[in-house]
């Protein structure tokens, strides 16, 4: 709904200005004064600034002429300024005729010339004049320091009056003060851009305005003080908006306090404002920032945020806490996950194209899910625009170590470029129908070897790996949206589509070390592999948003979202396998399709009878799928008699994992239904508090299914045969029971599972302003979670399924306080209790083998949910609406946290247990600001830095540590420090240039815990430098150049003194052009 208002707000940039009205000014002839002053000592100049609007839109290209002082043209904000000597003058505006469509575009027609009333330029002062013209070039309104003047009713304002009728009305109250003692400023005019409403401050410096809901810019003007502008003041009918405006004695030095950042949703200033106004400790990253930093998905964008690290390019660690501890909500609603074994949402799915902003709320609050550790990632998708917008973009790029180079690839399907399989990887239905394939015998029915060989012949023969020249990356996107009236009710829509193809190549050294008392560094080299892996990623996203306001104060909005990522991967592994005692050459061909579909419906209803209480409801259905059809994996092993002399005789392996074809399929579905009611009420101090209650229910169910096949040679094959290329050795003619291969089904019943989770929650909370400056949010949430997982005996399809359930009801209190010491200085603190729950299969005793890593997992039905006590404190200082410094600290104490442990035995097997306890403590510093204070030339420069320092410790306890080497260690994945720096130049409004240099580094973190005496594996610090440059060309075009990973450092993992893994990603460069109409 705010969108409609915002639209008007941006369109109708009417404002007020400061100047002496002509008639009351002293009658001093302008020219003589000028001449006099020129003849004698030069008088200090004054400035005249004119804001010109044509039909409520800023008019660009209008000349302002002051006789004897020169002329200048207005910029796209409709603003033009000229300096001149003090004295009376008669400014003239000359507007090109094409600006006035109502009078036609005659070739060579003269400009429209408007002569303003004479006014006085005052030395060292700026006079602001606002001029409004209609489309016929007729003067509608001139405001020259006209505080309190009632705006003339003109055509353009009808829409505002309409909005007054349509939208819930909110109140903004404010106090204007000055100086160190906060002295009230009386008689200041308060104007609303885009609204014919104004007010004057009383003796206490207070004012009050009623406005329809939306976001407004307020301008506070007083002849003796600086003009203060408050950008993006959000009017909410639920809650009177309290603003405090500090003005300074007018001196030019304070000019850079004037906010120049435009308020657009997703813009830096609006998000800083959001963060400032929030009751909780939040980090906010918006579309503008994501675009500026050139990150293409949410995971990439989030690594710029204070205290956040991204692991594996997908999972967000908030404050060093693993993916288990960061929940993700999409527009406030739960979404399913395409991860086969986890509930966590991989954030690489979310293209930044569709995101308006991402908020990371770091303190728990009653209206958020109870499962909360480091923070909740709140993704917000874009909404429809305020006016017709059409945009399209296309780009291309390259990666230094992949593009145009020969890299391993395999023959795929004809539709791979679209990110979908054309059916060529499909499992033949004859096999699916008969699975599990069992060989019969004298006593039991089943398939004969000949039948199994025939089944094998149904499989497509497609194993070979061949080098292919890697194509450049490409991307395209298209977006269209509009707002209009349907039966006189506001309505809007947005459709946005994107498609991209990326390539990336990883050349990795991958070693495994194991403990040995006698080896150097206590580590014996075990496996020693080189991996070459080409990934071709096709990503697509589509979003459709439609909104409607059926009644005044009501709103219904539907969002449909489809995200899809397909990874086509070819990996080759060569080197020494100590497990086998041989050198091997392994190939792996994968095609993984991940998709998230979500349909959300939200509504809002204002109940005027109940003091404008707001009722909101929401429902969503989402489905995440992960489909990995026909993963092929096989290896050849060196059979030469003396491997010490180097591998020389590779033959296809007959071992269990010598060749495998795997089909796996996941579907995760979530229904989320909920409602909230917010009731504003007055309290003792006359301030308005808001009580809020809500309830929600989330139903999640998932099915996972895997089918594993292998080809087995019942009789030993000759060395000559085993040396053949894969397409030959498993060619159809060799699939026979006599002297070739037959199909074998190695699917275990545990390769499938079903799971469900139901969460019901209710909460109550109150936002209570104790004083104007001190606000408390307190409340509690009751949440019941019931989860169930159904798996099977690993060996016996017919056995009774194993079922494990976990049922907990928790009451979780939280309290947050916000103390606004001044408009600029905000203190916050809070406490809240949250829980952490086991993932589905972690609870099931049934053992299974992960389809991605082949690691064996054994669940633990004894797991209980853990609890976390979170304490937070933060101080923030705002220099302006987009410049701030903040310092946060947090302390978290865990009871029974769930930690992954290693079990003993010969096979590596991984389980989970409740550790005894854990703590996590940290400090976060963030600062962002403009560089104008260094020098005038750097006025368009900005810098931001954030640093997080975190220390965590998990105490595993003797009973719950398995064979893990360290019984006491940092949380897995927690970096002791994370630093982000950005240095940028943003002159988007004038030259259209934006350039940003971004730097990111994280401290070493545990990636894998060691077992049986071998040390933990650490990922070493990685310095990353990115550069993004964009250039606006004319009104509709924009070019963007991105250079990512400029340092291209080795990504290194160490174990003790040894390097266990090492690879590079390559530098990537891309260029894109965007065209848009509207905005």
């Amino acid at each position: 709904m705010g969108k409609f208002v915002l639209a008007a707000c941006i369109l109708l940039l009417s404002a007020a200005a400061v100047a002496q009205p002509g008639p009351s000014a002293p009658e001093v002839p302008f020219e003589p004064t000028t001449e006099n002053s020129e003849a004698q000592t030069p008088a200090p100049a004054g400035e005249l600034r004119v804001l010109i609007f044509i039909e409520d839109e800023p008019a660009q290209g209008v000349s302002l002429e002051i006789p004897k002082a020169g002329s200048a043209r207005s910029n796209k904000d409709g603003s033009v300024a000229l300096s001149g000597p003090p004295g009376r003058t008669t400014p003239i505006l000359r507007a090109p005729r094409h600006l006035f469509p109502a009078i036609g575009l005659g070739e060579g027609e003269p400009d429209i010339v408007i002569s303003l009333e004479p006014l006085d330029i005052v030395a060292r002062e700026t006079i602001e004049v606002i001029v409004a013209l209609d489309l016929a070039g007729k003067l509608v309104k001139v405001d020259v320091e006209a505080p309190g003047e009632t705006a003339t009713e003109v055509e353009g304002e009808a829409s505002f009056e309409q909005r007054m009728k349509l939208l819930p009305i909110g109140i903004v109250r404010g106090r204007v003060f000055t100086g160190p003692s906060n002295r009230p400023v009386e008689g200041a005019g308060v104007f609303v851009r885009g609204a014919p409403r104004d007010a004057k401050t009383n003796a206490n410096g207070e004012f009050e305005l009623e406005l329809p809901e939306g976001s407004y810019d307020l301008v506070v003007i007083h002849p003796k003080f600086t003009t203060a502008k408050l950008k993006g003041v959000e009017i909410d009918a639920n809650r009177p908006k309290e603003v405090r405006v500090a003005v300074e004695e007018a001196t030019p030095a304070l000019d850079d306090f004037v906010v120049t950042a435009p308020h657009i949703e997703g813009g830096v200033a609006s998000l800083v404002a959001e963060r400032r106004e929030s009751a909780s400790v939040d980090e906010v990253i918006g579309a503008e920032e994501m675009s500026r930093s050139g990150d293409s998905d949410a995971a990439g964008a989030l690594r710029r945020v204070t205290g956040i690290t991204v692991i594996g390019g997908q999972f967000v660690y908030v404050r060093g806490m693993g993916e288990r501890y960061s929940a993700t909500l999409l527009n406030g609603q739960s979404i399913p996950s395409p991860e086969p074994e986890r509930r966590v949402i991989p954030l690489d799915l979310f293209s930044t194209n569709i995101l308006e902003s991402v908020v990371i709320q770091k303190t728990p609050s009653p209206d958020l899910p109870a499962e909360f550790g480091g923070g909740v990632v709140l993704l917000r998708t874009k909404s429809f625009p305020d006016e017709f917008t059409l945009s399209a973009s296309a780009g291309t790029g390259m990666v230094s170590n992949a593009t145009f180079r020969g890299r391993p690839d395999h023959v795929g399907g004809s539709l791979d470029f679209l990110g979908t399989d054309d059916g060529s990887r499909e499992l033949p239905s004859e096999i699916r129908n008969k699975s599990p394939l069992r060989e019969g015998n004298q006593f039991q029915p089943g398939l004969s070897p000949d039948e199994l060989a025939a089944m094998g012949r149904l499989l497509k023969v497609n194993y070979d790996v061949e080098d292919k020249t890697v194509a450049p990356d490409t991307s395209i996107s298209l977006s269209v949206g509009d707002s209009f009236k349907l039966k006189k009710r506001p309505m809007g829509y947005l459709v946005s589509l994107s498609h991209g193809r990326n390539h990336n190549f990883k050349e990795e050294i991958n070693r495994r070390f194991i403990a040995s008392d006698t080896a150097e560094g206590g580590l014996e080299l075990n496996n020693d592999f080189q991996i070459g892996q080409l990934s071709q990623t096709v990503s697509g996203s589509g979003i459709f948003v439609a909104g409607f306001e059926p009644e005044e104060g009501d709103e219904v909005k539907a969002t449909t979202l489809l995200l899809r990522i397909t990874d086509n991967e070819t990996a080759q592994v060569t080197g020494r396998s100590d497990d086998l005692g041989q050198d091997i050459e392994r190939s792996r061909l994968r095609f993984v399709e991940r998709q998230l579909f979500t349909q959300q419906l939200v509504g809002k209803h204002q109940i005027d009878r109940l003091n404008k209480g707001i009722a909101e409801w929401r429902y969503s259905f989402s489905r995440a799928t992960r489909d990995e059809p026909d993963r092929r994996e096989y290896f050849y092993a060196d059979e030469s008699a003396n491997p010490d002399e180097g591998p020389s005789d590779f033959q296809v392996s007959a071992r269990p994992a010598g060749n495998q074809r795997v089909w796996s399929d996941l579907s995760d579905r979530v229904h989320d239904i909920g409602g909230d009611y917010a009731q504003p009420f007055s309290i003792w101090s006359g301030l308005t508090a808001t009580a809020k209650v809500g309830a929600s229910a989330v139903f999640r169910e998932r099915d996972y299914d895997t089918l594993r096949l292998t080809l087995r040679a019942p009789r030993m094959l000759s060395a000559e045969e085993r040396r053949l290329a894969p397409n030959e050795i498993w060619g159809t003619d060799r699939l026979n029971a006599e002297n070739g291969w037959i199909l074998e089904d190695t699917t275990q019943p545990t390769d499938a599972y079903q799971a469900e989770q139901q969460i019901q929650a209710a909460y109550s909370m109150v936002d209570l302003p104790i004083t104007e400056a001190f606000e408390v949010r307190a409340g509690a949430r009751v949440e019941r979670s019931r989860q169930k997982v159904v798996t099977f005996s690993p060996f016996d399809t017919d056995a009774v399924p194993l079922q494990t359930e976990l049922d907990n009801t928790d009451v979780l209190p939280s309290i947050l306080g916000k103390y606004q010491l001044s408009d600029r200085l905000v203190l916050r603190g809070g406490y809240g209790r949250t829980v952490t729950r086991p993932d589905f299969r972690e609870l099931s005793e049934s053992q299974f083998r992960d389809v991605v890593t082949a690691t064996r997992f054994v669940g633990n039905p004894e797991l209980v949910r853990g609890t976390i006590d979170n304490i937070d404190a933060r101080v923030e200082y705002y220099f302006s609406s987009d410049q701030l410094v903040s310092l946060s600290s947090f302390y978290k104490s865990f009871e029974s946290p769930i930690e992954q442990i290693d079990l003993g035995g010969v096979d590596r097997s991984v389980s989970w247990d409740n550790a005894d306890s854990a703590t996590n403590i940290g400090l976060e510093l963030e600062s962002r600001g403009r560089l104008g204070f260094i020098s005038e030339q750097l006025a368009d420069g900005f810098a931001s830095v954030n640093v997080a320092m975190i220390k965590s410790e998990v105490v595993l306890g003797e009973d719950s540590s398995g064979v893990s080497t360290s019984k006491q260690r940092a949380l897995q994945g927690q970096s002791p420090y994370v630093v982000n720096l950005q240095l940028g130049y943003d002159d988007a409004s004038v030259s259209g240039v934006t350039a940003v240099l971004l730097y990111n580094v994280f401290g070493e973190r545990i990636r894998d815990v060691g077992r049986l005496g071998s040390p933990d594996i650490f990922e070493k610090p990685l310095h990353q430098l990115d550069f993004v440059y964009s250039q606006r060309l004319g009104e509709h075009w924009k070019l963007k150049f991105k250079a990512k990973n400029l340092l291209d450092q080795d990504i290194r993992f160490t174990q003790g003194i040894k390097v266990a893994r090492r690879f590079r990603r390559g530098r990537s460069f891309s260029l894109s052009a965007a065209w848009n109409w509207g905005e």
Binding site: A641, A762, S793, I901, G905
Partner: protein, 444 residues
């Protein structure tokens, strides 16, 4: 708070019926075989034992009892019937004792996906005779049989291992085969006398095959004398820790290693013959593959068995090494013959294993070898075999050393109550064929 409370009550008590609607019925988790066993009793004429886990299935008595419903009532298999492992069969629940008694002459068949597992605390009493051995074999018809037709025999005991993850000294078995290991070195898992395990080694999951016989943490109180594994995929016999002692062992046609140990085996073995088959073999299959522990070469207790009188014979064309001593294993190897391997007879790798050679916790004596590349791979294996070996053809016919074989009269083996006193190397003395009559030689 009033609102919150009432809402919560409303929500949570409104019977949001949690029919987590999938999977089986809780009430049905009892004895899978129970009902069928009743039917069986009604049938009357059956020779199948009256036992809840046994049902008549055509010509055989089918035994059922997977990990989720293991057999917890003693079971006695008599020679008047044939038996089929109907899927995986777990004897015991890993706490109480359940005894599986198998009479001499009994044949137990296994089909695709089946194996027999004896849990900790339970026992197998399989006492056959040379005339009437007990046979675990493929359920396929003779002539159609091959390695990997069924799983194999797994015995879990409570003897020490070196990779436990629990205070009771235990660890999860390979590929989900129960828990094994403990603190009782003298633990007994029963008796295996004149027992053959054939055509086993089915894949138990996508990454693992079972072995012919897996001794997982089996203690020295177990009596293992006269056993054969034959035509098995993966290893013939594998020890995962434990202290079990074995005697008169034949391992034929194993397609991976014939004898394999890891995880701290501290047992003994005497009279072992391992011969690979031309009809079975994967790659890098060795006569003996000996580890202390892959994940920690220095884990304690070390694998440290004493072996005497073994004969390792390669299949034709095998390019591997005869004995691969690695990953920190210790041990004493006496009076043995290694022949026919295309690589070295002995190879020693990893620094801990090398250190064991240096401090003589890994030793050999009275060794006859005949491998294409020589006695020992460069490095510590050379130190190991120095002055201890005889390089010559052992001159074997049907495993027996012929007149003039260097294996004969080579010197005394270990002196220990377990070991018979001998003066020859290898499993046979040239005259007495202890394998006669009870072993299988057919390869399909």
């Amino acid at each position: 708070m009033f609102k919150l409370h009432s809402l919560a009550v409303l929500l949570l008590s409104s019977g949001l019926s949690m029919s987590l609607a999938c999977g089986g019925d809780d009430d049905d988790d009892g004895n899978v075989g129970g009902a069928d066993a009743g039917d069986n009793t009604d049938a009357g004429a059956s020779a199948c034992p009256d036992h809840p886990a046994v049902t008549e299935m055509g010509a055989v008595c089918a035994i059922t009892g997977s990990d989720t419903s293991p057999i917890t009532e003693d079971l006695h298999l008599t020679a008047d019937a044939q038996y089929l492992l109907n899927g995986p069969v777990f004897i015991g629940d890993d706490s109480a004792e359940t005894v599986l008694t198998i009479d001499a002459g009994v044949t137990i068949y296994g089909g695709d996906g089946s194996f027999l597992l004896i849990q900790r605390g339970s026992k197998i009493e399989a006492i056959g005779t040379a005339a009437e051995p007990i046979v675990f074999t493929s359920a396929k018809a003779t002539g159609m049989r091959g390695p990997e037709d069924w799983g194999g025999l797994v015995i879990n005991g409570k003897a020490p291992i070196n990779n436990a993850d629990d205070a009771d000294g235990s660890a999860p078995g390979e590929a989900g085969t129960g828990r094994y290991g403990g603190n009782d070195a003298a633990d007994g898992s029963g008796t295996l006398n004149y027992v053959r395990v054939e055509f086993a080694g089915n894949k138990v999951d996508s990454e693992n095959e079972l072995n012919g016989i897996a001794f997982q943490g089996v203690g020295s109180g177990t009596d293992v004398d006269f056993i054969q594994t034959h035509m098995t995929s993966d290893d013939g016999i594998e020890f995962f820790g434990g202290t079990v002692e074995i005697k008169h062992v034949v391992v034929t046609g194993s397609d991976d290693d014939s004898i394999d140990w890891t995880g701290g085996w501290q047992g003994k073995a005497q009279f072992v013959v391992a011969e690979q088959s031309a009809d079975s073999g994967a790659e890098a299959e060795r006569g003996i593959e000996a580890d202390n522990l892959e994940a920690n070469n220095s884990a304690t207790p070390f694998s440290n068995p004493t072996l005497s009188n073994f004969t390792l014979i390669a299949r034709p064309g095998n390019g591997s090494n005869g004995m691969r001593l690695r990953r920190g294993t210790k041990g004493a190897f006496h009076n043995f013959v290694v022949t026919g391997f295309g690589g070295f007879c002995i190879r020693v790798t990893e620094s801990q294993t090398e250190a064991n050679v240096d401090d003589q916790s890994l030793t050999i004596s009275n060794h006859v070898h005949n491998c294409t590349m020589g006695a020992a791979a460069e490095g510590k294996a050379v130190d190991l075999v120095e002055n201890e070996s005889t390089v010559a053809d052992p001159n074997l016919t049907n495993w027996q050393p012929q007149m003039g074989s260097p294996a004969l009269g080579i010197g005394a083996g270990p002196s220990d109550a377990f070991f018979d006193a001998v003066d020859y190397a290898g499993a046979f003395d040239g005259t007495n064929d202890w394998s006669a009559g009870w072993i299988e030689t057919a390869t399909n």
